[in-house]
Symmetry: C2
Subunit: 540 residues, 2 copies
């Protein structure tokens, strides 16, 4: 599978948007792909403050499934309802509103088979540690961050999209509220010229339309949009992260109603939540519950920290989004995050490749790539970012605004992405991490051992006989797996080569717990850094 | 401070017990040490099932403090109330009961200054990651495990106590319900000859008296009793961990009323909770809340896992009690547990020194001692155990029944305990773990770097300039600490030597984040394993 393969949002999405912007018919499009975006526009009150005064939702029903979806006000008397059908079939809908003009509208449409590239939304995999598209295709997370890319001028945004088309990344972390210098800065209606002159009760639909266009464009090239709802960076003191609770709730409900139907949408409640002084953990939990309840599409939800790890076991959180600079310097450190989270773990920040003066922004590409590999062997996922700029200023960089990628980690990450795509489903599992084997893969099928900066001259073949527990112990009830035959490859993760090793390795019991390869006990290695060994079962 | 120093339970404890067992006066002793054990005995109904039928509590008041303490039935019409006064002063008490004979009794006693060795109960330290006795003395956790030692014959128990008197351990993990072969096996009244012939509604006071004698003896030699309330080991299928919820609740309330006033008492809700098939996480949370509510003395509470880490952020848990074989193979792995728990972390099982056939029971002493050191540098605590036996059978070993220690880790752990006692208060803190310095101590005062199996020929002196955040980042608001002068020592953790390095190291800024020692950039090391370097500030 090619790393540059891109899924495309259902064709019916475009049709739906087109139909709904042409008029105010209660009917949306008559056909939409499963997991596509169906939308209808309704005409209702424009007076007063419709964002506050008017309630709108629709109930969608199909073959016993029933989903209640919030609508939203899009300005100038236009209200919209967006829905991404989770199943094929005939969906009937009926609107509910406190405005007579919007209540009791109804219609029907057909959700048809998804087209090429439409794999549905990404969900947590059944085993609880990886990600899978709704159609069962594994989603091999390789994220990047360009915080305010979507808030830049159209040409700059287009450049970012062009860059992503040939990059290995399939998730973009991006802020909704402006952080670094941006073109789009007003998500709310302005009330004056000052930075604080805005009305938290009135959204600016143009800002949202612009932003959802960016979400849509990412979807078209198969990139998940990990939208950061709050962050602590507020150089102009605009105060978007210090709203009153009622305004926060309205904001989350509005954004959930507008964006939730995009199947490539992920929610990141906050970046560096613990630097947002105005909000406590209780606030975040409350807002997490509000968002969860407001989003019938049940998109993935996380929260990202500066220093104090969030308790990601909480039910509103679907996966861990971790910032840590030393956690992926060793696969064991990474794996422990799974033990704590008991959910998928994404190290969304591990330091960035670049030339910034601060140590979080001046990793060498070798260092960044090493962290990705250790994360992989730990059964976790890692995120990329770069701060290459003549001035070393992260406010003007891929990390800040997107644009072009210049780092030399990128091709190595594309290589790694291919290794991931060729790997076990739903993902690389650490194999008996408890006993520090430092192996990942799928027991008795494939094994990956990564050496990082170490330059051993050989690797002795010792594999565990049992398949291990959820967190990698040998359980008391262990039964030995089969003594298989494996072919081996030496992977140079920096030079991007995969070199087959001649012959095969036949395993046999070494003791109660372990297999070895008695005829060929070790693989010679070329004493270079950043090597890995991959074992693949040879079927008789 | 000597490692073999032992604190002693308040002398008034013995007096109190003596007074209360001599008669049925409502008055307990008139004086007790602060944090000592005050007890009174009351005479009440013996008919029916007093364990179920009779409620008893007493309210203790002193200078505006008010504590409601449960009483318990001790058989033969005798009821007892135990209380450990948290403050000095005149405490007045009044009993409450649904039995007229037990209600409305009252009295008073004086809580006087604690005697030598009485430091009060161990609490979580103010910084949230260490332990401190109530009088402010640091508690440097160094635990051991002898699961069923308290259930053995008196002579064997006495042998265990004698062993502990000269051992470095200040906490004992011990089961309440029998696990391995034991002499005391009947915590409940028997109803027949079979293993399951017992009445969950009637406790056997003799079993509890015997057990609390063991708690008291540990207290006399300064060892905390970490009492394990449930466990999955049930070779005779007695079913103590599969009681009905009402019986579980009654058991926890009874044990809290009987044992909670011993100031060296810790609660471990379960050993390997996730192997107790009859109970879910919801059950454990419920029982944790029941125990918490039933214990006005608010003793430390934890739960210990086999494979699936418990969510120790939950409010009923005071500290993490972790089993993991690979987490303390590196201080960074250990430190991450603090980031997750945001509470003190004790690795109560990291594998045991011994000759058992299973890999969890055959660590070399070097391996076990290394884990303790990595745990220390990670800002955490580690527990000991040994399975040395001619048959390598963990059912008959220090781990199983106590007795004598034969492992060669013990003197090295005593040496480590001295290093801990000489260290910063409340404990060794990881210093900017985020940046992988692998240092612990107290910034600008003392630094400890441990090398484990590595045998470097030098250590280059590079220290962070900032003191770091709670979890070890350099915050954006970092201010540089002072450029101090340090003396250095090379610690051979295996051979138990501390060798001063001639001269001093004067630090100066290397860059925005780091100090170095320009006149003397590195310390030469003798290329042996298990070395550490300790830096101590030289005051002008």
């Amino acid at each position: 599978m090619s790393v540059t393969r891109r899924s495309v949002l259902g064709g019916s999405l475009a049709a739906g948007v087109a139909a709904s912007t042409q008029g105010f018919a209660a009917e949306g499009p008559s056909r939409v792909e499963r997991w596509g975006l169906w939308e209808t526009a309704l005409h209702g009150p424009a007076e007063g403050n419709p964002f506050v005064d008017v309630t709108l939702a629709a109930v969608f029903e199909c073959d016993g499934s029933r989903v209640r979806v919030p609508g939203f006000y899009d300005g100038e008397g236009v209200y919209r309802i967006r829905f991404s059908p989770p199943e094929m079939g005939c969906w009937r809908w009926t609107s509910e509103s406190n405005a007579p003009a919007l209540a009791g509208q109804s219609g029907a449409f057909e959700a048809v088979a998804p087209g090429p590239g439409n794999h549905g939304p990404v969900r947590v995999s059944a085993d609880g540690f990886h990600f899978t598209y709704a159609d069962g295709t594994p989603y091999r997370q390789m994220g990047t961050t360009a915080y305010a890319w979507a808030l830049q001028a159209d040409a700059k945004c287009a450049e970012t999209i062009e860059t992503l088309k040939t990059a290995p990344f399939n998730k973009m972390r991006m802020v909704f509220f402006p952080s670094v210098p941006s073109v789009a800065v007003d998500p709310f209606a302005r009330t004056g010229e000052g930075f604080q002159d805005w009305d938290a009760t009135r959204f600016d639909p143009a800002y949202f339309r612009r932003f959802e266009d960016r979400i849509r464009r990412l979807g078209e090239i198969g990139v998940e949009a990990d939208v950061i709802l709050y962050h602590p960076y507020d150089p102009d003191k605009r105060g978007y992260s210090t709203m009153r609770r009622a305004d926060d709730e309205r904001y989350l409900r509005y954004i959930a109603a507008r964006f939730g139907a995009y199947r490539n949408l992920w929610w990141s409640m906050a970046n560096e939540y613990d630097l947002v002084e105005a909000k406590s953990v209780d606030d975040w939990d409350h807002l997490g519950a509000v968002l969860h309840a407001a989003d019938p599409h049940d998109r993935l939800r996380s929260i990202h920290q500066f220093d104090v790890y969030y308790d990601v076991r909480k039910p509103w959180i679907t996966h861990a989004s971790v910032q840590n600079n030393f956690a992926v310097l060793d696969d064991g450190r990474a794996q422990l995050h799974r033990a704590f989270a008991d959910k998928p773990v994404i190290f969304d920040e591990v330091g960035y490749e670049g030339n910034f003066s601060q140590p979080w922004g001046n990793l060498t590409p070798e260092e960044l790539v090493e962290r990705f590999w250790f994360g992989l062997v730990g059964g976790t996922y890692v995120g990329h970012g770069e701060v290459w700029h003549p001035s070393g200023n992260p406010n003007y960089s891929w990390l800040g605004q997107g644009g072009k990628l210049t780092g030399t980690s990128v091709p190595r990450l594309a290589f790694l992405r291919r290794i991931m795509e060729d790997g076990p489903v739903p993902g690389f599992e650490p194999i008996q991490a408890w006993w520090n084997y430092r192996l990942a893969g799928k027991p008795f099928e494939t094994y990956l051992r990564y050496f990082g900066k170490e330059t051993p001259d050989e690797w002795r073949v010792v594999l565990p006989r049992g398949s291990g527990t959820r967190h990698g112990r040998i359980p008391p009830w262990t039964e030995s797996g089969p003594a298989n035959t494996y072919r081996a490859e030496i992977i140079d993760t920096w030079n991007m080569t995969v070199t087959p090793v001649d012959g095969v390795f036949r395993t046999a019991p070494l003791n109660e717990q372990q297999f070895h390869a008695p005829d060929r006990p070790a693989i010679a290695l070329p004493r270079a850094p950043y090597l890995a060994v991959r074992f693949s079962r040879v079927r008789a």
